[in-house]
């Protein structure tokens, strides 16, 4: 994910020494950002063409989806004409791109509402879930990693690593179903579906339910929304957790072998504190990498988890659109996700440099 980065050995220790240097860094960062954003353009064009072609090659058409199973052929024909589906494909494509260039993501064929407006709550739903999943993954992953490095080659270490290995090997949807079975159906501890109990009549503001309930000061709703998130977030967070645990462990083992720790230990600083502090420092980069990659994956890849937990997220939204042949929604939805994916990774890449002076941008 770092095609433009090089981990170099130059310039360490010199950051921030002079204002000139800082300004130069600023310029480089800016130029780099612009370049990355420019590179997004061909990607988006390519994606729009690929998506458009695939979507229109799927058999069936939205007119039937709009009218239902009992539609008469005449009505289907009327709707097709009305939606412009009888136009040649290239004209439909250019019409779509023309809209895009004017900042218009189009309208859903099924609901006839602007996509830009409609997709928001779904995106928020997925993001909130993904963030909590990442939180769980980081918290447990790091501690598991630290624990197993600390007790290297002990039973604790092996157990932790077996857990991590099983974590990356489990089908997410299977894990989700098992969780539902045990915690929702058998034990009845947690809700199995949706984002919040509809009986609460909760009216979201930002559609990040945890945030909204805090804004409103409605702790009951916060609690309910949080309960709804636990099972899907654990399912979704398991793979990143396992990855983070393994990364933390190996980077921590390196730290423990380093002179720095030995010195610190010799000086009598508490071993645990030393390890904790330095691991955190060193584990930050790999965690950031996992974060960037997994957030991107979760945005579009939470489809299965969302299906199982009836979670109104963007994956669900797009799968529905595919099933209904809602062409504009599929096209614009995928473009939005891809753009977010690229942006998240750009931010992650920039953060690397912010926290690790050894990294410099520039040449390939």
């Amino acid at each position: 994910m770092l095609p433009l980065f090089q981990i170099g050995s130059t310039g360490q220790g010199s950051i921030g020494e002079t204002a000139v240097f800082q300004r130069k860094v600023g310029e480089i960062v800016f130029a780099y950002t612009v370049r990355r954003l420019l590179m997004l353009i061909p990607v988006l064009i390519g994606m729009s063409i690929i998506t458009f072609s695939i979507v229109h090659a799927i058999p069936g058409d939205p007119a039937r989806a709009i009218l239902g199973d009992k539609a008469t052929p005449e009505a289907v024909e009327k709707i097709r004409t009305h939606l412009g589906l009888d136009q040649p494909l290239y004209i439909q494509y250019f019409e779509y791109v023309k809209g895009l260039l004017q900042g218009d993501l189009g309208e859903s064929l099924i609901t006839q509402r602007p996509i830009a407006e409609e997709i928001g709550p779904y995106l928020a739903g997925t993001m909130e879930l993904a963030l909590l999943a990442m939180g769980i993954a980081i918290f447990f992953g790091m501690n598991l990693g630290i624990l197993s490095a600390w007790r290297h080659n002990s039973a604790v270490d092996y157990t932790a690593m077996v857990i991590a290995l099983i974590g990356v090997s489990m089908p997410v949807f299977w894990l989700g179903l098992m969780e539902q079975w045990v915690f929702a159906q058998e034990l009845g501890w947690l809700p199995s579906n949706g984002r919040i109990d509809p009986r609460l009549g909760f009216e979201p503001i930002t559609h990040f339910y945890l945030l909204d309930s805090l804004i409103k000061g409605d702790f009951y709703a916060f609690n309910d929304a949080f309960n709804h998130m636990i099972l899907p977030a654990v399912a979704l967070g398991t793979i990143p957790m396992a990855i983070i645990a393994r990364m933390t462990r190996s980077s921590m083992l390196e730290v423990m072998r380093s002179d720095y720790v030995r010195t610190a230990r010799a000086k009598g600083v508490s071993e645990f504190l030393v390890i904790y502090k330095h691991t955190l420092k060193n584990a930050f980069i790999p965690i950031l990498t996992v974060f960037g990659l997994q957030m991107g994956l979760l945005l579009g890849g939470a489809v299965l988890t969302e299906t199982i937990f009836s979670w109104p997220g963007v994956g669900q939204y797009l799968v529905d659109a595919i099933n209904n042949r809602d062409y504009p929604v599929i096209q614009s939805g995928i473009l939005i996700i891809a753009t977010l994916f690229v942006l998240i990774n750009l931010i992650v890449d920039l953060l690397y440099a912010a926290v690790d002076p050894r990294i410099q941008y520039g040449k390939e």
Binding site: I58, R64, F139, Q180, S192, R199, T307, S310, D320
Partner: protein, 539 residues
């Protein structure tokens, strides 16, 4: 360096904090909105203008927002007063006078009166009406023989005699006219709201019904609230109704079990069994007005073009076993293309009994003693008449192997499935039908007449074209004498049985389950089973 540590610490703290919070806050807790009923269902409504919709998911909601002039009794399909308190008909049956209920108001505060009724009927019947907008009005055309100006249109005029009296003049008498008026499609909408935004009315409906429309989150939920001024005293009992879309049948059932929703329909049959055995749930079984079948595409070249082969395969289906395995017992084996609850059903037709030897014999007679290969379409999405098409196909596949018929199963998602079968690309396909109005024509003509074999949207996907059947069905359509029609339809069923363009498989019994605290036995009503005005929650 500091911020890194602290941010991670914050995260950890937040996590612990929320876990603790979650742990303390378990349990059911107080409902903020009084008696709220949450109905979990498979998909969202399409529109909420009753006159424009044809799908059950839309009617389920409009039924509760709107009222019709007359309604069906709870116990059967007889008519009782609703918005019309009483009515009389002239000797020749061409004039109907309705006396409307007084003091009824639409949800927007305007009065319900004769003008409103006239406005609604004119909007539906007249394609040039300024508010004939927002979609088609299919049921009107279907039930009343077309629209204004059409030859078969039977309503000559609708007029307001005074503020509370409406008079219908028909061109000729129509036997089921009064019953038709009770169909939820002919519910009366607020003229003021329609005029204000005819296109948008279907997304913001205003009626006189027991519940008022509050909000519609597309693909998610529709919220209705109690109409405090409902004309029927003591109703509705619920304060709020939420229709929630949860596409996955299994996920929906899980939600019901964990108490997230109060009612669900579209159950997997095995879940229905589970619900039956659970104390906190109650299962309602409805007599299904549907049929699930296997259609042979007789337009496609292949052995199944021979009648003997089709009959042989009819003998090679163990319907009882399929019902046991796939439907968990919640279905009736089908003999005719329509269920016995529809009038005109021919009891005398006997099914091809399950007999593999006989099937083999017939195949030999037809010259296929070594069997043959065939592609069978199965839908991948659950349908009410076929909760799992793939499993039905697997079952047939295993059975037919014993008589040498090799089946390749092909599945598609529903939209593709409709597209491909409508074009006749299949050799055999599993399919089914949900009846609209309980008329035999709605099954036999729609599904098996040669008129309906027109691609790309054929309704008769076996592409069976029998002139003999066509004549009978058309004669039955033209007749108004129920006895005569019954005889004709019974004859039609005999023709179909002999020609065997299908293997009629089952009539499924759709299950609906509620929490046991949901009271009100309306779910068993054959037509208006989703009428919620009498439903209550008693915890």
């Amino acid at each position: 360096m500091i911020w890194r540590k602290s941010s991670i610490l914050t995260l950890a703290l937040l996590f612990i904090f929320s876990t603790v919070l979650a742990a303390c806050g378990g349990g059911t807790g107080a409902d903020s909105g009084g008696k709220t009923l949450i109905w979990g269902r498979g998909s969202d409504s399409k529109l909420l203008d009753p006159a424009q919709v044809t799908d059950g998911e839309s009617m389920k909601v409009t039924k509760n927002i709107f009222d019709t002039l007359v309604d069906y009794k709870e116990e059967n399909t007889e008519v009782e007063p609703a918005l019309a308190e009483s009515w009389e008909t002239s000797e020749d049956g061409k004039t109907w006078t309705f006396h409307l209920r007084k003091g009824v108001k639409f949800h927007d505060g305007t009065d319900f009166n004769a003008d409103a009724v006239v406005f609604n009927f004119e909007r539906w019947m007249d394609k040039d009406h300024p508010q004939h907008k927002g979609g088609d009005f299919p049921y009107y055309g279907y039930m009343f023989g077309g629209y204004k100006g059409d030859e078969g249109h039977i309503i000559e005029s609708v007029e307001a005699v005074d503020e509370h009296t409406v008079e219908f003049k028909l061109k000729e008498p129509q036997g089921p006219f009064l019953a038709n008026l009770g169909m939820s499609a002919f519910a009366i909408a607020s003229p003021k709201a329609v005029k204000k935004d005819p296109e948008g009315f279907a997304k913001n409906p205003v009626g006189t019904g027991p519940f008022k429309f509050v909000s519609w989150k597309k693909n998610n939920s529709i919220t209705l609230e109690k109409n405090e001024d409902y004309w029927e005293k003591g109703k509705p009992k619920l304060d709020k109704v939420i229709f929630k879309s949860m596409p996955d049948n299994t996920a929906r059932f899980t939600a019901l079990q964990s108490g997230d929703i109060d009612v669900m329909d579209g159950m997997n049959p095995s879940d229905a069994k589970t619900a039956e055995n659970e104390d906190k749930l109650k299962l309602y079984k409805r007599v299904g007005m549907n049929v699930g079948y296997l259609a042979f595409n007789v337009d496609k070249k292949g052995p199944w073009q021979k009648k003997k082969v089709r009959q042989a395969l009819n003998h090679a289906v163990n319907k009882k076993a399929i019902i046991k395995s796939v439907y968990a017992g919640l279905a009736e084996p089908a003999v005719n293309p329509m269920p016995s609850s529809v009038w005109g059903y021919n009891e005398k037709v006997e099914d091809y009994e399950y007999d593999l030897d006989k099937a083999k014999e017939l195949l030999e007679e037809a010259g296929y003693e070594d069997g043959f290969k065939v592609e069978m379409y199965a839908m991948s999405d659950p349908r009410p008449y076929m909760p799992d098409g793939r499993k039905v196909a697997e079952y047939l596949q295993a059975d037919w192997k014993k008589i040498g018929v090799q089946v390749d199963i092909v599945t598609y998602d529903w939209q593709t499935y409709l597209d491909k079968t409508g074009k006749g690309e299949h050799e055999m396909a599993l399919f089914g039908w949900n009846g609209d109005n309980g008329d035999p024509d709605n099954f036999l003509y729609v599904l098996l007449d040669k008129d309906n074999t027109r691609t790309p949207d054929a309704g008769n996907i076996s592409f069976y074209k029998s002139d003999e059947l066509h004549d009978v069905l058309i004669e039955a359509q033209r007749s108004t004498d129920k006895k005569e029609r019954t005889e004709l339809y019974q004859e039609a069923q005999e023709i179909i049985k002999e020609d065997a363009p299908w293997i009629p498989l089952v009539h499924a019994t759709p299950g609906l389950a509620t929490q046991s605290y949901v009271k009100g036995n309306l779910f068993e009503h054959p037509i208006n089973w989703y009428d919620l005005d009498d439903v209550d929650i008693q915890k």
